[in-house]
């Protein structure tokens, strides 16, 4: 009796953990309301408001996750589209000279922000998955005095250090 109960609790716990862990962005359909979005995936980490009243809600799954979702809402507060932006499609839009704000709007919050010891740079990094399998790291280096993007680097994480994931 006791063991059955604890097993049931454990199972329930796991189910809750699982559903909480992967909020289902695929369940958000165009036309859904802002309330429905909040009910499905919770509050966004950040909200970008545009002049026309439309908004973009940002959901980074990092630092442990490798995805960041952007939910676009029209001025009527209905969902226009849901994008997973840590992918080649969006990363390839980065270019030299972009501001921090532009990068943040494109890819969302970085996993980590670092600094260069020697040349006054700020380095934003993300982890993402390419083709569903390859574990990648993205580094975007900004010149600190001007705030402009200087360099974009992408790396594949070698399997020999797979333990650090």
């Amino acid at each position: 009796m006791n063991t059955t109960f604890s097993r049931a609790v454990l199972l329930l716990f796991h189910v809750l953990l699982f559903t909480a862990g992967c909020a289902s962005f695929s369940a958000i359909n165009p036309g859904a309301s802002a309330q429905q979005v909040e009910a499905l995936v919770g509050a966004p980490a950040n909200v970008w408001k545009n002049a026309d009243g439309s908004e973009v809600w940002e959901y980074p799954r990092g630092p442990l996750g490798v995805e960041t979702y952007m939910v676009s809402l029209g001025s009527d507060r209905a969902v226009r589209e849901v994008r997973q932006v840590l992918s080649d499609e969006y990363i390839s839009k980065l270019h030299v000279g972009m501001s921090r704000d532009e990068v943040r709007r494109l890819l969302g919050r970085p996993r980590d922000i670092g600094f260069s010891g020697s040349n006054d740079e700020e380095i934003w990094s993300w982890r993402y998955r390419e083709w569903g399998t390859r574990n990648m790291e993205l580094y975007v280096q900004f010149d600190r005095p001007t705030g402009a993007l200087k360099k974009i680097s992408r790396f594949q994480i070698d399997a020999s250090d797979g333990k650090r994931q």
Binding site: F115, F155, Q156, I157, D158, D161, K163
Partner: protein
Amino acid sequence: MIAAFHRAAAVLALAVLPAACANFSALSPGDSAQDVEARVGAPGAVWKNADGSEVWEYPQGFYAVQTFMVAFDPKHAVREVRQVLNEAYFSRIQPGMSREDVRRLIGKPREIWYYPARDEETWTWRYYDINYKFFNVLFDRSGGTVRTTLRLDEVLLPNGDRGRH
């Protein structure tokens, strides 16, 4: 006339070539410190040991994938020459080692980045092992000890840029 010009160009090329790539394979055990300086120039750093032996460090530059260490015995004769940017040396780096331990083993890093949020300092070396790769040593910044290591594969970007310059 043109042949003479070509001959002159060939002689010039021969003169330039050895200067451009210092020839560490020309060093032999038993060579004196003077021989070494004459062949490969002054070292980037010198490590002195208690017994009078020394290690001279020759990083080959920011884009290079080799760093040479010339070890001298207490009588200042060459004992060995080793190229340290490879797996044989990387695999000796263990959690808990100090910055100096790492520096003495594989030489000066090309870049040092730090991440305040994780109190982490990352040292990076470029190397070649089938592909161009980056070897990273992640230190606990305030403790000054190795946390872990990370190997990243350089990825060729679509615009022809390499992952990290």
